[in-house]
């Protein structure tokens, strides 16, 4: 055994040196990366702190003040809480409807776009890059931009939020769907092509059955995200529970008890939808059959 080790030593000196060199370089690069990262993080924090209206350490001590005020006020008029919950429930339904409708539209249009942009499925190859770019742009456009533009044209309410979220969802789901499509088996598609089936028939009968569980799983995930998005867009004027929250939470309205009710509704809605969709997605991806 010592023989072989010796043999290695004499014969492989250079490889060994090279190895140590590589380890050293790797450590150096790793260390440098971490250093740069930490420096970026710290200086970023300092910068953000400097540009913020209130400082971090100051604010930290006041962090509890606002929630305390809200809770105190809500507690005072706790008898009204059930009534408030009932009052704002329709607004929550609006928010959920915005999310559901835009997810649905996103699935329909995103699904179509994804098939037009997957090699092997697209009816004409030159559509592929065009549809991909369209989806990239749809995906990159933050919801708030379209929402504000449509609020300008259509006035407030849930429809601008729905259009804005649906637009973004089309792009986001389209991309995820086309990744699913890439893994779809093309043999059935070819089988249907050989009998003279048209493009919609091939997609509907040969592709959709294969990809539907994954589509559904992504759509549920998107639904969770869209509920949050629709709440936040409400806050900038697009209806639903976010809008009510904005109205009740401003200082001096004396409506913090109502704000608390909205907090509770929104929190519960998000947690419930998250858990249900988690459950359903687990079923879809692992449960398979039964």
């Amino acid at each position: 055994m010592s023989d072989t080790a010796l043999g290695h030593h004499t014969g492989g000196g250079t490889t060994r040196d090279a190895y140590f060199e590589m380890v050293r370089r790797k450590r150096l690069y790793g260390g440098l990366t971490i250093l740069v990262f930490v420096v970026l993080l710290v200086s970023g924090f300092v910068l953000a702190d400097g540009r913020n209206a209130g400082g971090f350490w100051n604010g930290l001590s006041q962090l509890g003040d606002f929630p305390a005020t809200v809770v105190a006020e809500a507690w005072e008029s706790r008898a009204d809480m059930p009534a408030h919950l009932v009052t704002y429930f329709p607004a929550l339904i609006d928010t959920i409807n915005i999310a559901a409708a835009s997810t649905l539209i996103g699935v329909l249009i995103g699904g179509l776009l994804s098939m037009l942009s997957t090699r092997g499925l697209a009816p004409v190859p030159w559509l592929i890059p065009i549809c991909r770019r369209i989806m990239d742009i749809m995906r990159a456009l933050p919801e708030i931009v379209l929402a504000l533009a449509f609020i300008f044209i259509l006035g407030g309410g849930p429809v601008p939020a729905m259009i804005a979220i649906a637009f973004h969802t089309c792009g986001a789901l389209g991309k995820l769907f086309s990744e699913v499509n890439e893994n779809a088996d093309l043999k059935p598609v070819e089988g249907l092509a050989s009998v003279g089936a048209s493009w919609p028939q091939r997609m509907w009968l040969a592709v959709v059955p294969q990809v539907a569980p994954n589509y559904l799983s992504y759509a549920l995930l998107r639904f969770e995200i869209n509920i949050r998005a629709s709440a936040i867009l409400g806050f900038v004027g697009a209806g639903g529970i976010g809008y009510e929250l904005k109205n009740t939470i401003s200082w001096g309205q004396g409506k913090f008890d109502e704000a608390a009710a909205i907090f509770i509704l929104l929190f519960l809605a998000i947690v419930i939808v998250d858990n249900l969709s988690d459950l359903a997605r687990n079923r879809l991806t692992h449960g398979g059959k039964k």
């Binding site: 990262f37 970026l40 993080l41 970023g44 924090f45 910068l47 953000a48 702190d49 540009r51 913020n52 209206a53 209130g54 971090f56 604010g59 930290l60 006041q62 962090l63 003040d65 606002f66 929630p67 609006d94 409807n97 559901a100 409708a101 649905l104 329909l108 990239d136 742009i137 995906r139 990159a140 456009l141 933050p142 919801e143 708030i144 931009v145 504000l148 533009a149 300008f152 044209i153 259509l154 006035g155 309410g157 849930p158 429809v159 729905m162 949050r228 709440a231 936040i232 867009l233 806050f235 900038v236 976010g242 929250l245 939470i249 907090f263 929104l266 929190f267 998000i270 947690v271 998250d274």
Partner: protein
């Protein structure tokens, strides 16, 4: 007999399939119909103002120059978009507006021409229609049109006449006469009229004679561009940077906090069931409260600015990452950890060499994915807390005026998100393959 059984079985199967096939599209349509009804889309369409959409679209790629006569003093001036910052010097007019003894002659698009006499009489010979004249007097506007003969592109009342044609627009009121001519493009994007570099080409600035005697051409031009008082390029750049900063700090901070916590929330790493359970609920709570509410709460304490946005993203994503990481930890391969353990390594070493290498790809790809998506969130959060490009965007949109600026911001935001998308994809490939 079995054949008959089979036959009926198949027919039952197909009846069921047919019902399913009909039910799904029916449900989708029914739901969409319900949404149309509950959101009152029909009423909304009636109340919608398509004119605004037109303004928005036209404004986003074109601008107008106002030539204005004060009908009290008879003085003329010219200003781009009618703004103070776009005003021409006293007595200076663009080449298509000529002022002399016979009055003002303004050439509009498509060969249209408007003249205004020194007395203030506006004459506009609209091709295909005929001459329109208007004289503002103390009593009102004297015009050759009557409400009956006026075409629908003319809006008239006793005190006001406005004509909109392909060539441009003319407004006559008692106090002033305004003529607008439209141009494609973004006005004064590089230099405003008060900058000495306005109207000079790139080659002139780079290679030509010194334009401003007090400054070098390149430095001066860059300064004037950067400080452009109409487009505020420096502010926009800062805002974009702030937005990316929010996303970066929020995502990375969340990752750093969530990683150690995830170990305490993962089965197989923390034997205490109760703490595991408690931590999971904390993660759920952080996620459930959601960025919107965190933003509101934090902005009360920290005031508006990028720090607030960063912290809001950080809190939400600590919940998300905590959940994702602890799930990833539970899915790690135990054999590798045992291998490290068999060498007598302590707990920290076990995690460092047995777990982290397995966790790293999941961790990095999640963090990078969220970095991109948080850039978009940071735009919205910025609109709420008041920071970054989101704030500029909402401000520009709420004033309902400078849609070309809005377009500019939108293009920048889209480019920014696409760049982050590309960067995150590139880093993901690089780190995960290389690591």
């Amino acid at each position: 007999m079995t054949d008959a059984v089979m036959q009926s079985e198949i027919h039952v199967l197909f009846r069921r399939k047919r019902i399913m096939a009909l039910a799904l599209p029916f449900m989708v349509l029914a739901y969409l119909a319900y949404v149309v009804w509950t959101f009152d889309v029909v009423g909304l369409m009636q109340r919608a103002e398509p004119g605004r959409a037109q303004t928005l679209l036209a404004d986003s790629y074109s601008y107008k120059t106002h030539i204005t006569r004060s009908n009290r003093t008879g003085d003329w001036d010219a200003a781009i978009e009618g703004e103070r910052k776009g005003k021409y010097d006293e007595g200076v007019f663009p080449a298509w507006a000529v002022l002399n003894d016979t009055g003002m002659t303004i050439a509009l698009n498509h060969g249209h021409e408007v003249t205004v006499s020194p007395e203030g009489e506006m004459r506009y010979d609209v091709p295909g229609f005929g001459l329109i004249t208007a004289l503002p007097t103390r009593r009102g506007i004297e015009t050759n049109l009557t409400p009956e003969t006026a075409p629908d592109w003319v809006n008239m009342s006793n005190t006001r006449l406005s004509i909109t044609t392909r060539g441009g627009r003319v407004n006559v009121t008692k106090s002033k006469t305004e003529v607008f001519r439209y141009f494609t493009g973004w006005e004064l994007f590089f230099f405003t009229l008060d900058s000495p570099y306005h109207g000079h080409s790139v080659t002139e600035i780079l290679f030509g004679d010194q334009i401003d005697p007090t400054r070098g051409n390149v430095a001066g031009a860059l300064h004037d561009f950067w400080m452009n008082p109409m487009w505020h390029h420096h502010q926009v750049a800062w805002a974009m940077f702030e937005t990316i900063l929010m996303a970066f700090l929020g995502t990375m901070g969340a990752g750093l906090i969530a990683l150690p916590l995830a170990f305490f929330a993962a089965r197989g790493f923390n034997p205490l069931r109760s703490t595991r359970f408690a931590l999971r609920r904390v993660f759920d709570f952080l996620r459930g409260v959601d960025g919107l509410i965190w933003t509101i709460l934090l902005s009360r304490a920290f005031g508006p600015g990028p720090l607030t946005g960063s912290l809001a993203i950080m809190l939400t994503d600590t919940g998300t990452f905590g959940k994702l990481f602890s799930e990833a930890l539970e899915n790690t391969d135990k054999k590798q950890i045992e291998g490290i353990q068999s060498t007598g390594a302590n707990r920290l070493q076990r995690y460092r060499f047995g777990v982290l290498p397995q966790l790293m790809p999941v961790l990095l790809s999640q963090i990078l994915y969220y970095l991109e998506s948080n850039t978009r969130s940071a735009t919205i959060i910025g609109a709420i807390t008041g920071g970054g490009i989101g704030l500029l965007l909402t401000q520009a949109m709420i004033t309902h005026k400078d849609w070309e600026e809005v377009t500019y911001y939108i293009i920048l935001v889209v480019l920014m998100v696409m760049m982050m998308d590309w960067l995150s994809g590139w880093l993901r490939r690089k780190l995960i393959k290389g690591g």
